[in-house]
Symmetry: D2
Subunit: 142 residues, 4 copies
């Protein structure tokens, strides 16, 4: 398991999500797999806020990020039309992986808590590769 690396920690990042019909199920609430989509949108937008698009990383650096593991706790249901907020912080960074602590909240109330381990892979071989330097530096600049 990853050990927290204090130098990799950064202030949190928050991304708003609106719940549409596409996200819900016949139970009247947000379908549980939709949270994985919400969590990834926030990671993608965090990466973009650091200056990196996943598509550019793939084309220019030849790397993609893949979810290696995820622990999800579903604490309260979300419903149609609600405005949610996905937050993330980096809990640990290694040479070829990032561990994210993420939450989904509604008006400050915790709905879902997640720990997501993302690995950096060569886009052709799908084997682990070090996070490319400019990005690694942007994540933990010291």
């Amino acid at each position: 398991m990853q050990r927290p690396n204090p130098t990799a920690e950064r202030a949190g990042f928050a991304w708003p999500i609106r719940v549409y019909y596409e996200d819900t199920d016949a139970g009247g609430v947000v379908y549980h797999a939709s949270y994985l989509r919400f969590l990834e949108r926030a990671r993608t937008e965090w990466l973009r806020s650091c200056g990196f698009d996943q598509d550019v990383l793939r084309r220019e650096a030849g790397v993609i990020f893949a979810v290696r593991s995820a622990k999800l706790e579903f604490l309260r249901p979300a419903r149609l039309d609600e405005a949610l907020c996905v937050e993330l912080r980096i809990a640990a960074r290694r040479g070829a992986s990032l561990l994210f602590d993420q939450t989904v909240q509604r008006s400050g109330q915790l709905l879902c808590r997640a720990e997501v381990l993302v690995v950096c892979l060569d886009s052709e071989s799908l084997r682990p590769r070090p996070i490319p330097m400019p990005l690694a530096a942007a994540i933990a600049p010291d």
Copy 2:
């Protein structure tokens, strides 16, 4: 088929969409069914911009909106990380239905064109019901 009702026409409404992995498929482009989700997000946000949440309409007015038919043309592919724009205008309004002309564009280039007929239904019986008055008035105020 619906006949255009000039009094129901309004200036267009535009809603931004970002393409995430969840929206794409192994062909490397946006999966064709994802466009139906994008189109619905824009209709939902247009309704919200008129002052109406679908969830409130269901709980308070007892109506839901359902897609009765859709004609879709997929003209050019969209790709991961692209910023798209969904536009809509009301092509026709009847007592219990709305016909939307919608497009999905990228930097002004047309990717998808759609004609979507939405009907107003009783949320319990799922039978057609007139669009509730305050909403009907908001859509075509004269």
Copy 3:
């Protein structure tokens, strides 16, 4: 628009679909975009029944099939746990495209009717390409 080509017509093909939570929405019924997924599963399995996997076609013949247009009519709702049946027949075949007539039924009752135009594309350039010969022959053997 495609003109029906009698020689391309074949007996119908049917594929069973079970409705899971993932397919439904908070309206308590199958989400409208889910039908596009159901329709594609049937086309894929029909192609497989003709002896062709899409993944093999892409790797060996360098072609992919893309939906160029779709007309969908949603006539009755489907619900969680229901057993549906997707049927298809080829309404027209041209050099680089196939027009499918498809239905989704439940116990013989029509829920959704669709006309889907699929084009054969070069997997690299995404430009139209003739349907490769062994497949074209399998679709219309005379």
Copy 4:
């Protein structure tokens, strides 16, 4: 955490899954959230094989099953057109919850391992409720 209850253990259950375009992403592999859908299909079909439909349970017993937590490990990618197999066994059973051990395999090769805690909820209040008796008995008949 749940402790294994030997009397609740049963022989495994297996459910086949075919990978379609809808399940994949632009990385060329199955999208990680799709595994949650595959895992749920297997749980639903296992329940059906025990004689219980979720929709009937909701209408007649007033209960629904909700995912309370999930631990997922993504070990190897799956690709378009592949035939997968989802297996499950019950790792623990309590009054109002079931802990599932699940795997997704391809030709005996492990792709994804999951531990999914499902709770039984009142379908109206969404509060925990004991698993209804006939079902509880069917799961652990002694």
